[in-house]
């Protein structure tokens, strides 16, 4: 998880204006959407436009992910055929199952060989948005070595569960925990569902803080205005960075003296505390704060 993936910004795949500004909006990743943002009559058009955009537009350091249609729709296979040949960084697979991930992986092996791309260079991002997906997230991730992260889709998930989506998000507490925990186990990105109400700034901030506190590593955005707030909240605070630096310094000194466990500010410091400090400093470095 060397790449910083705090924000993944959704962009409608059939909109040239948005596609051509995708690389300069400051998101860590952009998701060029061929699924929900594109009407059923324009699937062919968006697929060709997104293919041309990836081939011709400079996205700078922004990671380019394409959300393809579900394989069961018939559009998904065509999306892969067209878009994988211009080598996006990753494909996001809607309503992913183990079988879908294996199928997409198989298609990518063939396309990479035909196009002369390095094997495994196109990564996968399952979208977990069904009750089945939540309960089988571990085996879905394990279905391909290409999986680098998971996006939790709460709207579809709550619809599948037959429950109401609320602003507070208590109904997705379990799903967030599950995604965070399993993704940490596989050392891949755990991306939280987007927050839809652009006018509720306080609610938005609380929602990001909740996701961060449960162990999710980033959040999807549906508007460029959301990017800065997500980055601010996901960035380690100056206090956290300062404490992490002191932990690392004290660890060095303890090592020299041959001490395994020591105390800092009256609190015990052992391996998990050191690991957390290392994690904070790594994220701070990636975010350019060090």
């Amino acid at each position: 998880m060397e790449r910083l993936r705090r924000t993944m910004l959704f962009m409608p795949g059939n909109n040239p204006s948005m596609l051509q500004s995708a690389g300069i909006l400051g998101a860590d990743s952009v998701i060029l959407d061929l699924e929900d943002a594109v009407s059923i009559t324009e699937k062919d058009s968006a697929r060709i436009l997104v293919r041309n955009a990836i081939k011709n537009i400079n996205f700078y350091d922004t990671e380019v992910v394409v959300r393809i249609n579900p394989l069961s729709s018939g559009f998904g296979i065509k999306d892969i055929e067209e878009v994988a040949r211009v080598k996006p960084d990753a494909l996001m697979v809607a309503k992913a199952t183990e079988e879908d991930i294996s199928t997409v992986c198989g298609m990518l092996e063939k396309i990479e060989e035909e196009e002369g791309f390095e094997k495994g260079s196109i990564k996968l991002f399952p979208l977990i948005e069904t009750a089945y997906g939540i309960e089988n997230i571990s085996s879905i991730i394990a279905s391909s070595y290409r999986v680098i992260g998971v996006l939790l889709g709460a709207e579809d998930l709550t619809a599948d569960l037959g429950i109401k989506r609320t602003r507070e998000g208590e109904e997705i507490f379990y799903a967030r925990n599950k995604v965070a925990s399993v993704c940490r186990a596989y050392k891949i990105s755990a991306i939280d569902t987007p927050f839809a109400d652009m006018d509720d700034i306080e609610g938005f901030k609380k929602d990001i803080q909740k996701a961060k506190s449960l162990g999710l590593t980033g959040k999807a955005a549906i508007n460029p205005r959301q990017i800065d707030t997500i980055h601010e909240i996901f960035a380690p605070s100056l206090e956290e960075i300062d404490y992490a630096k002191r932990v690392m310094k004290a660890t060095e000194e303890a090592k020299k003296e041959g001490i395994g466990v020591f105390s800092l500010d009256g609190k015990m410091v052992d391996a998990p505390i050191i690991a957390r400090a290392e994690d904070i400093l790594k994220n701070a470095r990636l975010a350019g704060l060090l």
Binding site: P16, D44, L49, N52, N56
Partner: protein, 87 residues
């Protein structure tokens, strides 16, 4: 590729181009182009449209294009979509 039925692609939104394509009974390519940047880029847009048609092996077609400031990649995409819908 033979253009068999009339087809459309693109939109009238800014940075896009709206393409209508239909069979041309008189043979050859007939292109009617309107653009908000006609004076500055009319020639290049025309060249891009004709080059894309040639790559797709379209020899006979009547194209009406209404450009709203589309970049090359969009012009090419919309022509390709319109042609694929028309064959």
């Amino acid at each position: 590729m033979e253009i068999k039925v009339p087809a459309k692609a693109g939109t009238m939104e800014s940075n896009d181009i709206y393409i209508m394509i239909q069979p041309n009974d008189e043979g050859g390519i007939q292109l009617d182009l309107e653009s908000i940047v006609m004076a500055q880029f009319g020639k290049q847009i025309k060249e891009t449209i004709l080059a894309t048609l040639e790559e797709l092996d379209v020899k006979d077609a009547h194209i009406i294009a209404k450009d709203r400031g589309a970049l090359d990649y969009t012009i090419r995409a919309r022509i390709e979509t319109a042609v694929k819908r028309a064959i």
